[in-house]
């Protein structure tokens, strides 16, 4: 099913690239924030743990067993230091044989009892705060009994968390800064990435409407599938056009044979009948067939010119030889009408398409013979200067009455041609051949009346 075309669905690749970049960067910034936060948290936690461990060890070292029991010197400096980073809350507990002796007796005990001098670290919630605790245990001789003494020291970790958070935030800001710096670069990069597409579009856009050559423009590898698809499409289109052409030729063939029969029969009938009314009808019939045939020829010529323009491949053309060949082909028709054809042909070799040039020249001469005066004169002159070859076809007919430029338009005929048959496509064909060769075509009145058609073709 065809989806209805919705302009909102059109996406800009460039915008998408930039968005993707932004989203990716945002994810990176967030990731950096989290990772740095985690790493900083771990690192600062480790160093804080070291301080806490040293503090609890120091306190434990300060416990002395004396005759009356225990002697404890709770070091002011140690507490002051523990609290220094971010005004931490500090809790401690000294127990002997599990009995609290001093400090906060309800302080959460370590999950596994500390048995040697290595502190056991753990976390616990206490008095509305999350604590990091370190516990150290040792056996001491108290009142002649070996008893386990445990010192537990806990602190909040607000300062440490704040530092970790700050570090992560700084990293995020830095990343954000880089992202902002990279944004114009990303825009430029998106531009650069999309440049080949634009170039390809330009190349396609510059093509003529009938240019069906495959695209040979060098493109990045990523665009190769698009190019292949495009060339595939062009190839299919060309095949379709060629099929259509074949069809036209085939159709022409199928129509022409019966037409020939009709015409031959009509002519025979004309020769055999003496009834004037029948003769007029037959004559009209023959004339109509002649015109249709001539039009068909011109349409085919035109199609051929279009086709060859698209496939235009310049080759060396001996314009003089070509002119003589066309003159020879056209000669019987001129002779039939008692029209004298003269020529003045200089040696001239140009770069061009021989078939197209032949069509152009034949149409020019055809036209000239058709419009020449009865028993008139047509002249073909080929001159060759340093830069340009000029084919001039002159007749001595009625000359031009309309704007010459108008005559060249397709299917247009001069107002004064009366009943002279012709589709008017001939001059259009010549003009198109001229353009295909980067030349120009000109119609002007002849010096002694009549018409002069000039086909200028540039020399290489």
């Amino acid at each position: 099913m065809m989806r209805p075309f919705d302009p909102a669905r059109i996406v800009s690749l460039r915008r998408r690239l930039v968005w993707q970049f932004l989203v990716l960067s945002a994810v990176l910034v967030l990731g950096l924030f989290l990772v740095v936060g985690w790493v900083a948290d771990r690192a600062s936690r480790a160093s804080q743990d070291a301080v806490l461990g040293a503090a609890v060890t120091a306190i434990t070292e300060g416990i002395r067993s004396v005759d009356e029991g225990l002697e404890l010197d709770l070091p002011y400096a140690t507490f002051s230091m523990l609290g220094a980073m971010g005004d931490e809350r500090i809790f401690y507990l000294l127990t002997v044989a599990g009995q609290g002796v001093t400090g906060y007796e309800d302080l959460p005990p370590p999950p596994t009892p500390a048995t040697d001098m290595a502190p056991v670290f753990y976390g616990a919630d206490y008095r509305g705060a999350r604590l990091r605790l370190a516990s150290v245990g040792r056996m001491m001789l108290i009142q002649n009994r070996l008893q386990p003494v445990t010192v537990t020291l806990g602190q909040t970790r607000l300062g440490q968390a704040a530092i970790a958070r700050d570090t992560a935030r700084s990293a995020a800001w830095a990343a954000l800064g880089f992202m902002l710096l990279a944004l114009p670069v990303a825009l430029l990069a998106a531009q650069a990435v999309l440049q080949p597409i634009r170039t390809l579009a330009d190349v396609m856009g510059r093509r003529g409407p009938r240019d069906l050559r495959p695209v040979r423009h060098p493109t990045p590898r990523e665009l190769a599938p698009l190019l292949r698809a495009l060339n595939g499409l062009i190839a299919r289109l060309r095949a379709a056009l060629e099929l259509a052409e074949t069809f036209i030729f085939e159709a022409a063939h199928r129509i022409r044979t019966p037409l020939s029969l009709v015409r031959a029969e009509a002519e025979l009938a004309l020769a055999e009948t003496s009834d004037e009314a029948t003769r007029i009808r037959l004559r009209r019939m023959v004339r109509a067939i002649g015109e249709s045939s001539r039009s068909a020829n011109q349409i085919l010529d035109h199609a051929m010119v279009m086709y060859r323009t698209d496939q235009y491949a310049a080759a060396q053309v001996d314009l003089a030889a070509l002119s003589r060949a066309v003159l020879r082909a056209i000669d019987p028709i001129a002779e039939m009408r008692d029209i004298r054809v003269t020529h003045d042909i200089a040696a001239c070799i140009i770069q061009g398409d021989e078939r197209m040039l032949e069509i152009a020249l034949r149409n020019l001469l055809d036209n000239a013979i058709k419009y020449a005066a009865p028993e008139g004169h047509v002249d073909l002159t080929l001159t060759c200067t340093g830069t340009e070859a000029t084919l001039a076809v002159t007749d001595d007919g009625r000359g031009l009455s309309d704007d010459p430029a108008q005559l060249i338009g397709r299917f247009r005929r001069g107002a004064n041609v009366g009943d002279t048959g012709g589709s008017g496509l001939g001059l259009t064909i010549v003009t198109e051949v001229a353009h295909a060769h980067r030349g120009r075509f000109q119609l002007k009145s002849g010096e002694k009346g009549g018409t002069c058609a000039l086909l200028h073709l540039p020399l290489p």
Binding site: L72, F79, V96, R127
Partner: protein
């Protein structure tokens, strides 16, 4: 270190007997019917009244109920008895610190521009005054003796004139006064000479008091000659009209206590407390406070501190003074020095 403590028979109750805490004085400021900010404070009512009066004058819609109590009573009221107050002011830095550390102080955000870092702990404990701790002497009692400039001078003076100072030296009783204990702990930490002084005072049968006020009264009435470790703000109230009173700020060191305020977590009107705290930290209030204390906490509001002044920082180190073993050890040493057989 000479500090020794004994864990055996630790019966010393930090907050005293289980009986309810006791206040010393109470006054209402502002209109009777206005909503009142409940203040529990160690500061002498007479000394603090001008500041509170100024506040209610500035805020006509508000009243203050001011309850004065000793620092140990205050600690007991807040820590153990769940008394409801909006603002708790005390000079016993260790006790205030412990209240905050134990999670009884709420976080507040008063306007505290200019307050030095060492005079606050987190956003829970706010120094509002600097109180130098001085030694007071009666000029008359000293007679022609030279005025001592250091503790060493004082020791020498007492030693050389036992007859003159027998029974006439006063000091805080650390077993009763929180401030007294705290100051002794500070002395113990800072100077070895203090214990020699304590021994000398013991030999002279020094008299122990619960509060600065009493010591000053005794001094002015001529019953004692020297009062060691008196919070200066009390002395300042009497000194202008009593030429006999000499204030000695020893040159070896002179402590300055940071009187601090906190808003308890169960304060009925924390917003009012924060408002009052902001006022106490403002320039007008600080000028009044500095005027009575003799030194400015916030620079520019009064006399700058003298060089030997050693303010005690509000930090976690204060917690050690409250340790049961340490306290017991210190007090037993004190007793040993003071109460001689």
């Amino acid at each position: 270190m000479r500090l020794a403590a004994f864990a055996v028979a630790v019966t010393y109750a930090l907050a005293g007997p289980a009986a309810a805490w006791q206040s010393e004085d109470e006054r209402i400021f502002g209109p009777e019917d206005a909503p009142q900010i409940q203040v529990l404070s160690v500061t002498d009512l007479a000394a603090f009244a001008p500041v509170l009066q100024d506040y209610v004058t500035r805020n006509p819609g508000r009243g203050i109920r001011y309850v004065q109590a000793s620092s140990t009573e205050i600690y007991a009221a807040i820590h153990d008895e769940d008394a409801r107050f909006d603002l708790v002011i005390s000079s016993a830095m260790d006790l205030q610190m412990k209240l905050a550390n134990d999670g009884l102080a709420a976080s507040v955000a008063p306007d505290a521009r200019g307050l030095p870092d060492w005079a606050r702990w987190r956003d829970q404990l706010w120094g509002i005054a600097l109180e130098p701790v001085v030694t007071l002497a009666s000029r008359q009692a000293l007679g022609d003796l030279p005025v001592p400039r250091t503790r060493r001078d004082l020791i020498a003076l007492l030693r050389e004139n036992p007859e003159r100072f027998q029974d006439r030296v006063a000091a805080y009783d650390p077993q009763v006064s929180g401030v007294g204990y705290f100051l002794i702990a500070q002395d113990d930490q800072v100077s070895d000479g203090f214990w020699r002084l304590a021994e000398v005072m013991g030999r002279l049968n020094a008299r122990l008091f619960c509060c600065s006020g009493q010591m000053i009264t005794e001094l002015r009435e001529g019953r004692i000659a020297i009062a060691y470790n008196v919070v200066a703000s009390y002395a300042a109230r009497f000194r202008p009209d009593d030429p006999d009173l000499v204030q000695l700020a020893f040159e070896d060191y002179t402590f300055a206590i940071v009187r601090s305020a906190l808003v308890p977590v169960n304060a009925p009107d924390p917003q009012g407390a924060q408002d009052l705290l902001s006022y106490l930290l403002s320039d007008p209030a600080q000028r009044l406070i500095a005027d009575s204390a003799g030194v400015a906490l916030i620079a520019g509001t009064g006399k700058p501190p003298v060089p030997q002044l050693r303010p005690i920082r509000l930090d976690a180190g204060l917690l050690v003074y409250d340790d049961r073993l340490r306290r017991a050890g210190l007090l037993s040493e004190w007793r040993a020095a003071l109460i001689q057989p």
